[in-house]
């Protein structure tokens, strides 16, 4: 009887020791034996060579954007970080203003500053790159796809048969297809649907298709929230004499969005993660830059450091977003 009780402890003890052993090996490689300063030729084999990251930091972050024009990138990233900070802050002061700003004005500002207008030097989109491009794509896609997804969800639940049929058709088809085919669609087929004189840039085509894609996923999530709102709320709103728009805006949507909040944040995390797929269609995002730097003989042996750095960057962003959603959920539970 006693031996039976001890066995799982022994088992988990062994697992723990194995985990600690591998963690120590990793920690030694990652930090203790790692090289932070000096030249590449000084790097030990046993430790990580973070000189790769330090030397290539500018390329990894901002790609091959011309270095004398980098101040534009700094401005845009600072403003969008401020926007994200204000949107995510738990105090709802000036929130609607910031949301409108980030949906309408920020994309225009990105276009004017990054691409170049008003006497600025023109920098085509194939010079944009790095982690900045990933975050830019995911930020724009999130801000554009959320309202579209909301509209699609409302359309799918509406009583007008034709609207609901059309939206379900679009949502189901796009949801059943992997993102890569959508990106291929954007690069290969979408030019057929534009006038040959002004075919949009590849970057913009990818943005369009990617935001439609994620809007469909968001629509499905929001529809789940809409359906789980109690029927009594709907009837109460009608009996108060609210019209359809007021009913949606004042009563049903706040509850539905609150119910589907964790899933929406999960979708945002997914959007950020799968923004790395643009490397397959040939944009200069962080993975493409890592690959091109690893072609160089000087940096070729440091593939581990490169990919660990990329993974760490994405992990930091995604994990902090997940923690944020848990924090907000706790607030909702207290509120009830």
């Amino acid at each position: 009887m006693k031996i039976k009780k001890i066995i799982p402890y022994i088992f988990s003890f062994i697992i723990m020791i194995v985990c600690i052993y591998y963690f120590l090996i990793f920690f030694r490689w990652f930090f203790l034996d790692a090289n932070f300063l000096g030249d590449v030729s000084m790097c030990h084999v046993s430790g990580a060579c973070w000189i790769y990251v330090i030397d290539n930091f500018k390329i990894l972050m901002f790609g091959i954007y011309p270095s004398d024009q980098l101040w534009r990138v700094y401005v845009i990233s600072f403003v969008s970080m401020l926007c994200v900070f204000f949107i995510l802050s738990p105090y709802p002061k000036h929130k609607s203003f910031v949301c409108v700003f980030s949906i309408i004005i920020l994309p225009l500002a990105v276009y004017c500053l990054m691409y170049g207008s008003f006497n600025l030097v023109r920098v085509p989109t194939n010079y944009w790159g790095g982690l900045f491009l990933n975050l830019l794509i995911s930020f724009i896609v999130i801000t554009i796809s959320f309202p579209i997804g909301l509209l699609l969800a409302i359309g799918r639940t509406s009583d007008y048969k034709i609207i609901s049929l059309f939206t379900t058709f679009v949502i189901e088809i796009i949801r059943s297809v992997p993102l890569i085919t959508i990106l291929f669609f954007a690069t290969v087929i979408l030019p057929f649907f534009m006038y040959p004189e002004n075919v949009y840039d590849k970057f913009i085509r990818i943005l369009i298709m990617y935001s439609i894609f994620s809007a469909c996923y968001l629509a499905e999530i929001i529809r789940g929230g809409l359906q789980s709102v109690q029927v009594g709320q709907n009837e109460a709103a009608r009996s108060l004499g609210l019209n359809e728009f007021q009913k949606l805006y004042l009563i049903i949507l706040p509850q539905a969005l609150r119910l589907s909040f964790p899933d929406i944040i999960n979708q945002f995390i997914l959007i950020i993660k799968s923004s790395t797929l643009v490397t397959i269609v040939g944009l200069f995002d962080i993975l493409t830059i890592v690959k091109t730097t690893l072609i160089d003989v000087k940096w070729a042996p440091y593939y581990k450091e490169a990919y660990t750095f990329v993974a760490l960057c994405f992990w930091l962003i995604c994990y902090s977003l997940a923690r944020y959603s848990q924090y907000i959920e706790r607030g909702y539970k207290l509120y009830r």
């Binding site: 085919t181 291929f184 057929f192 490397t279």
Partner: protein, 376 residues
């Protein structure tokens, strides 16, 4: 605000009722039909201009032309003079193969992680948290590239390959010995299958006859055993590093999501049920099999099937490392050779659509069944 048919009954005149319905509902319907039609015709007109300007001809004839290239990593033998359709088929089979293996092993990983979570020992929960939070929040593409580079660099070259019970491991993949098929072995295999199904599967291990046939099969058949020749390893069943990297990363990535599903399914069991099971004096295995599983499975299976679907869609990332999979073969090589971009992308989308429809049909059937269970 629309009232539907219900309120319209109160209006006495037929004409008035008709006018009422016409006013509200059909105006919106007609308007939406018109806007969709205008949208479609506008883009069709642009498409027609582009189509007439380029000498591009839409048609499926290219499917029956020669493919002209050899695929090493295919489930069956193929030749360059096979048609493009066979290339498509190889891609589909490879996709399904990877996703089948990935689904099975990720379910195993998830059950292991869930059993860690269920146990009373607190250190195990730390391991669960670490695994789930780290692998869920790193992009799949980064993981795939990372494992691929690791497999290519850490494995030894051909002449220094590890030999493990006749299995050769090097940076060109894993070579496994396998029995060659002859009439005699096929006959024995059929006999084995008949034995397995004629007796109860529970008694399989104790069924001396089938064990006898199995050993006979292993000893009597010719084996293709891998060996190192001058430049390469010859014979043996080769598992390519691309497959291994894709399989490993899909397993770990989807396993993290699945284990979250499983854990939340376990947590949804009411505490009183667990206590009642303990009070009945059931052992841990009995509790698990008779109480936990039937209570939590209806909540676990639909999101898990969704994850399986995600795995099939995510297996398309094999393009990044050159795994010959439906997109890299058909939307990559064949598209570059023939140039029929529209048809090819649409065919690929259609295949994923069909797979998705089959899965969603299964999910719906299961949900209906669960609803019946809950009502009774």
């Amino acid at each position: 605000m629309h009232y539907g048919g219900m309120v319209a009954y109160n209006i006495p005149h037929r004409l008035g009722r008709f006018m009422f319905i016409l006013k509200k509902r059909s105006f919106v319907n007609i308007f939406s039909i018109f806007s969709i039609a205008i949208f479609l015709t506008y883009y069709y007109s642009i498409f027609k201009i582009n189509y007439l300007n380029n000498d591009y001809q839409i048609g499926l004839d290219f499917l029956f032309e020669k493919s002209g290239f050899f695929i090493h990593q295919s489930p069956y033998i193929n030749f360059p003079h096979f048609s493009n359709l066979s290339v498509l088929l190889i891609g589909v089979v490879n996709t399904l193969l990877v996703s089948m293996c990935g689904v099975i092993s990720s379910v195993l990983v998830a059950t292991l992680i869930t059993s860690f979570f269920i146990s009373d020992i607190k250190i195990n929960k730390f391991i669960v948290n670490f695994y789930v939070n780290s692998f869920r929040n790193i992009p799949l593409l980064v993981q795939i590239l990372f494992w691929y580079e690791i497999l290519l660099h850490i494995m030894p070259t051909v002449h220094y390959s590890h030999n493990f019970l006749g299995i050769l491991i090097n940076n060109r993949g894993i070579y496994i010995p396998y029995p060659l098929l002859s009439i005699w072995t096929v006959f024995l295999l059929i006999l084995l299958v008949v034995c397995l199904f004629s007796f109860k599967i529970k008694n399989f291990l104790f069924n001396i006859f089938s064990i006898f046939i199995f050993t006979f099969l292993i000893l009597n058949s010719k084996w293709s055993i891998p060996f190192i020749s001058k430049f390469n390893v010859k014979n043996g069943f080769r598992i390519y590093p691309e497959f291994l990297a894709l399989y490993l990363s899909l397993t770990l990535y989807i396993g993290a999501f699945l284990s979250v599903n499983f854990i939340s399914g376990y947590q949804s069991i009411p505490k009183a049920t667990i206590e009642a099971a303990k009070a009945l004096g059931l052992s841990k295995a009995q509790q698990y099999y008779h109480v936990f599983l039937p209570v939590s499975l209806p909540k676990i299976i639909p999101p898990s099937l969704n994850q399986a679907l995600n795995l099939i869609k995510d297996s398309s990332l094999g393009v990044a490392i050159g795994f010959p999979e439906i997109i890299s073969l058909f939307a990559g090589t064949v598209l570059n050779q023939t140039g029929h971009s529209i048809e090819i992308i649409l065919i690929v989308m259609l295949i994923y659509l069909i797979i998705n429809l089959i899965f969603s049909f299964i999910i719906n059937q299961y949900n209906k069944k669960v609803r019946v269970w809950n009502e009774n």
